[in-house]
């Protein structure tokens, strides 16, 4: 089964705008985390920043790939069959997959708060090898992402149960929305609404992250 996603005609363009928005929000998280690292010199905050930077780059690349595909979609083809893409598109998709997984792995590593570079590289290598060796790369990518996101949600939930802070709850919910959006794209990919729903869920997620940042920084202006 090829990895296909259906894009409703009315949504073409909106998806690209949303992807750029996601890239901007995640870049802001990365920049602010980098500033926190500069002050505290805590390595896990640096890893967190790098994780979000990778995710930001992945969304940026995905948006560029979508811009280049948009002509085909407007011409009437409602579906993008990912395995049939080649050249620039293929490189773009592989870059998106690599960066998104690298981002999630780095965030997982940041939440573990351990100082073992060998474990980080192992955590990074395993999913990339699984995706690289798979025929249905996008499907395996989504499944791996779901597992990594589930772990991040678990860590955030533990943090929330300890701190009882609203901000931590928002972050837990944000990652949960991203988790659901990836699950949606695994099981409902043949429906055009799946693509729209996935983007709306991610919009909700990144809105929550932006609100969390604003609340965390506003308190201490």
């Amino acid at each position: 089964m090829a990895s296909v996603y259906y894009v409703p005609q009315w949504f073409i363009g909106f998806d690209i705008m949303l992807e750029f928005l996601f890239a901007i929000v995640t870049a802001i998280v990365a920049i602010i985390a980098a500033r926190m690292y500069q002050i505290s010199q805590e390595k896990n905050i640096l890893h967190f920043s790098r994780g979000f930077l990778c995710i930001s780059l992945s969304y940026f690349i995905w948006a560029i790939v979508n811009i280049s595909i948009v002509k085909e979609l407007i011409a009437g083809s409602p579906a993008v069959i990912l395995e049939k893409l080649s050249g620039f598109w293929l490189i773009g998709i592989y870059a998106y997959l690599f960066l998104f997984i690298a981002g999630l792995v780095t965030i997982v590593y940041a939440t573990l708060n351990i100082k073992r570079g060998d474990i980080y590289y192992l955590l990074l290598a395993l999913p990339l090898i699984a995706i690289g060796g798979a025929y249905q790369k996008i499907l395996i990518f989504r499944i791996v992402s779901v597992f990594l996101l589930a772990f991040i949600i678990y860590r955030e939930l533990l943090a929330f149960m300890q701190s009882k802070k609203v901000n931590t709850l928002f972050v837990t919910l944000a990652f949960t929305f991203i988790f659901i959006s990836h699950v949606d794209l695994i099981f409902l990919t043949m429906r055009p609404t799946a693509y729209v729903l996935s983007h709306l869920l991610e919009l909700g997620a990144y809105a929550l992250l932006a609100i969390t940042l604003f609340r965390a920084l506003k308190k201490h202006d």
């Binding site: 860590r155 955030e156 931590t168 920084l217």
Partner: protein
Amino acid sequence: MTKKRNRLEIIRDILEVIKTKQGRIKPTHILYKSNLSYIMMEEYLSELKEKEFIEELSSGNGKTYRVTEKGLTYLDKYKMVSEFTSSFGLN
């Protein structure tokens, strides 16, 4: 019962203790005031020196510590950093 401190809180407490006696505080005073074991205190002091948050001064009376500009910035921005890390579950 008081809550167990996280890393950021411990670093803040050590820096606050050193700051109160700028350039005149000895390791034993830090040990009493910071509520840490000797081994933990040595580990944190070593880390804080590496991060350039504190500076070790040697004199005839032995070694003392003072907080650097970086360390003062940490104290100044501590609440913001703490809020950020607790919001994102990085504590």
